[in-house]
């Protein structure tokens, strides 16, 4: 494995404002939180609360207006930090490359020899359950299969930090639960630091060690809840536990107000 030790993610009073024709727009304001090394943390919040902007800033794709983001002991300034993994909400596979070529790309970019690259990409496709699909192009794969290829593409270079932006939101419920379980299994081996964005509270609780609730835009941290459910977990069965229901109720009370506020704002327009 290329995997280096997991990293701590620290956000200190992070703010992001955009210039828009209507004036200045604040996407997130004064967001501070930490994700301890090797933890699985979810961010939940109503749509439009700046979740994606937050991830973009951590990945160095979106500049920070104010505040500071630190990965391990290295501040994120100007550019993409090394060895970060990002699973996008929309498919980001290169349509002109086969599944194998897509998974191999991060290693090819790192100048690894061709034979090693191919062998490891084949192995990763097998690990995400796609042995035999090496020569398929993205358009020949189903949505769930494409997500698996994306996951393998992100995990193959062992990024110590894994950012996931509603990666499973476009999948049907069954595929989604399967993929969530597979993600947990893979994560149990890699144990990188995961920051997972979702608007689905059940998904957040089922997957995470901690759930952070964001307010309706501009996003701020409203509350943070540890999830003391035992691992290994099955994301479907864990929902039947009493503890799960209790946590869900508790966090939903916080989230509900934000969702309603966000909805009211959106419908008033």
């Amino acid at each position: 494995m290329l995997s280096s030790r997991p990293l701590l993610i620290t956000l200190e009073r992070v703010t992001r404002t955009f210039e828009t024709p209507a004036g200045e727009f604040t996407a997130v304001r004064d967001v501070s939180f930490r994700v301890s090394a090797g933890r699985f943390v979810s961010l939940v919040g109503p749509s439009g609360c700046g979740k994606t902007t937050l991830l973009g800033m951590i990945a160095g794709l979106v500049p920070v207006s104010e505040g500071r983001i630190v990965l391990g002991d290295r501040p994120v300034t100007g550019g993409v930090p090394p060895d970060i993994g990002y699973l996008f909400q929309r498919d980001a596979l290169l349509p002109w490359k086969t599944a194998l070529q897509n998974v191999a790309l991060p290693l090819a970019i790192r100048g690894r020899p061709g034979a090693e690259t191919r062998a490891r990409a084949t192995e990763w496709l097998r690990r995400v359950g796609l042995a035999g699909f090496e020569a398929y192009y993205p358009h020949q794969l189903s949505g769930g299969m494409r997500k698996r290829v994306s996951l393998a593409t992100t995990l193959i270079y062992g990024p110590p930090v894994l950012l996931m932006d509603e990666p499973f939101s476009a999948l049907d419920v069954q595929t989604r639960n399967l993929m969530e379980n597979e993600l947990l299994e893979l994560w149990a081996e890699t144990r990188n630091t995961v920051l997972f964005i979702t608007h689905d509270l059940e998904e957040a609780i089922a997957l995470s060690d901690e759930v952070i609730v964001l307010t309706a835009g501009p996003g701020r941290v409203k509350a943070s809840y540890p999830i003391p459910l035992p691992r290994p977990r099955n994301v479907v069965e864990i929902r039947f536990r009493e503890e799960f229901t209790r946590l869900y109720e508790q966090i939903w009370k916080d989230l509900r107000d934000e969702v309603q506020q966000s909805y009211a704002r959106a419908t008033r327009l």
């Binding site: 498919d91 980001a92 290169l94 349509p95 991060p106 970019i109 270079y157």
Partner: protein
Amino acid sequence: MKSSKATRARRASDRLRLTIGRALLLAAIVAAWEAGARAGVIDPYFVSRPSRLGHTVAGWFAGGFIYPHIWATVQEAVLGLAVGIAGGVVVGMLFAFFPFLSGLFHPLMVVFNATPRIALAPLFIVWLGIGLASKVAMVVSLVFFIIFFSTYAGLRDVDVNLINHVRVMGGTRRDLMRHVLLPSALTWIFASLRACVGFAVIGAIIGEYLGADRGIGWIVQYGESMFDSNMVISGLLVLMVFVATLDGSLGWLERRFSHWKQKPL
């Protein structure tokens, strides 16, 4: 995604039916033309008749008359294509990567592209003579803009998601160029390549028609000046077969290079 044996067999028989149908349609048109001309329903002075055309064209090939003319047209079209494509790709890349350049030249490009090229042909002939150069210039003036706009669009319209994806996995500017931008531009360029070939032949023919001493366009023009409709139509026939062959081989190339694309349902 393999189709079953039965589906494949049905597709093959569909194709065969289509081919036979097309051959019959062509035969019917030719037969009606010949019969009409012989019966005096249509005047062969204006439209000749298939048997005479066949005789003329066969004579051209057998006597070797046609080869230098085909060669001249091919040369003009191919040279013009090569220069036009190379120029279009280079300028398209420059404009895509240096927005100031693009802003500076944009109005000029639009005006030039909107100018009917046929109006420029006399100028090219005055400037460059009735030889090869004026025809190449004519072809370039058509092909360049098509390729330029494709390259520019291909580079500018890349999905930001794909760029971010490669950046996040550690891709440098070079990696982005090689794995995202160029493949994207190439698909656009390939999509317009077939149109380019058509325009290249049109450009060469127009150039020949307006002033040349050889080429398929010249044959047509010469036949016209002699009021010899048989020669004009024979020239057009040679031209049609020539263009169809070119287009067919390009279609084949295109399929080979766009194998990753989704076929329309």
